[in-house]
């Protein structure tokens, strides 16, 4: 990210901020979508995050930390969006899977199970999974981005991965049972 652009935006230059917004919009949306699992909610979260970033930008001490800080503002916007919409646990209305179908359909069923399990995670656990598995951040990078201790990141990842592992294992057991039939 261009430091000078950030500094100009910090001084209230709306054109510079527009360049920043278009520069980071896709990245913010990709993270918001993967966290919220809903395109409309993700767009709302990105919009709110951009407005908050604009408002709070003069207080950012290190312009080089702009991207990491923007992710933090976005994650908080995702939390707020999820609370407002109360759709974290709504889940997809999925058609029951027919285990006798071919591999392609079974793969879709596996994905649906993952989707369902992911939607049941609390938002803070979703966020750390997305930062780790989509953005490829290390635990210390996640901690710095979210402003939480590394130990908290570790525990959130632990609980989230356990929940996802349980869903994957359950799916595998069901698939194995289906083959016996």
């Amino acid at each position: 990210m261009d430091r000078r652009l950030v500094e100009r935006a910090q001084d209230g230059d709306e054109a510079a901020f527009a360049d920043l917004a278009f520069g980071i919009g896709d990245r913010l949306y990709a993270v918001a979508y993967r966290t919220l699992r809903d395109g409309g909610l993700a767009e709302d979260a990105v919009q709110q995050a951009l407005v908050t970033i604009w408002q709070q930008l003069p207080g950012l001490r290190d312009p080089d930390a702009f991207m990491a800080w923007s992710y933090r503002v976005l994650v908080n916007a995702c939390y707020a969006e999820g609370r407002r919409q109360r759709r974290w646990d709504a889940g997809l209305r999925l058609v029951p899977t027919d285990r006798t179908l071919g591999d392609a359909t079974a793969a879709v069923a596996d994905r649906d199970e993952l989707e369902r399990a992911f939607r049941h995670l609390p938002p803070d656990q979703r966020a750390v999974l997305v930062l780790q598995h989509y953005l490829g951040m290390t635990m210390s990078q996640i901690a710095a981005t979210l402003g939480i201790p590394v130990g908290t990141v570790r525990s959130r990842l632990h609980f989230a991965r356990d929940a996802m592992r349980a869903a994957i294992d359950a799916e595998a057991r069901l698939a194995a049972g289906g083959e016996r039939w």
Binding site: Y33, V51, W54, Q56, L60, L129, Y134, G147, R161, I168
Partner: protein, 202 residues
């Protein structure tokens, strides 16, 4: 974007699962956000890096304030008036408008919901300070109350944005329960405070 860490199949499945999905936002969404910011003022630069010129200006203002106060004091008071300590003079730039925590809010509160990690959480409010405790974690900062708005700032848990202001609407129910409704907060304390309810401990 996606990286491989080890051979754990769960990690590989999650890499693949979270790698799926759209990666581009509709430009209209950004345009709408930019339309909103054109009518949204930026907040004061509370966390700006130290600048010698700014520091000189602040020092000059303090000298004027203190010496002016002394002169006025000598002219009007029968006894010398102690000059205010610069360390307790709040910076008009750094403090949002509002006053100290009112008596009805002051004290310790227990969150009725546990924090996202499952730990109980407590909130203490008094004067112009707040503190949040959850498990072994403890964060605090400054607070002012402006009508039904609670404004938190200078939070030590808000690393990337030390001056970030959290705004919450507070209400007390008939049975004394405190409710905090999130207006906005760019800091991690929002995890515990956003749309939350609290029982008074003391």
């Amino acid at each position: 974007m996606v990286r491989k860490r080890d051979s754990d199949p769960v990690d590989e499945i999650l890499d693949s699962f979270l790698g799926e999905g759209p990666v581009e936002i509709d430009g209209l969404v950004i345009e709408e956000a930019l339309a909103r910011i054109s009518t949204t003022p930026q907040r004061g630069a509370m966390g700006r890096p130290w600048s010698p010129f700014r520091a000189l200006a602040v020092a000059a203002a303090l000298v004027l304030l203190v010496t002016g106060g002394l002169v006025v004091g000598q002219l009007t008071a029968p006894h010398p008036v102690p000059s205010p300590s610069a360390s307790v003079l709040p910076s008009a730039e750094a403090w949002p408008s509002g006053g100290p925590v009112p008596g009805s809010l002051a004290g310790s509160w227990a969150g009725t919901n546990r924090d996202p990690g499952g730990l109980s959480i407590s909130l203490s409010l008094g004067g112009n300070a707040y503190s949040l405790a959850s498990g072994s974690e403890h964060h605090g900062g400054k607070v002012v109350v402006d009508g039904d708005r609670l404004l938190l700032f200078d939070g030590d848990g808000c690393v990337a944005l030390p001056g970030g202001i959290g705004e919450y609407r507070w209400t007390l129910s008939g049975d004394g329960m405190l409710s905090l409704q999130l207006i906005q907060d760019p800091c991690p304390r929002v995890d515990n405070l956003g749309d939350s309810t609290w029982d008074r401990i003391r």
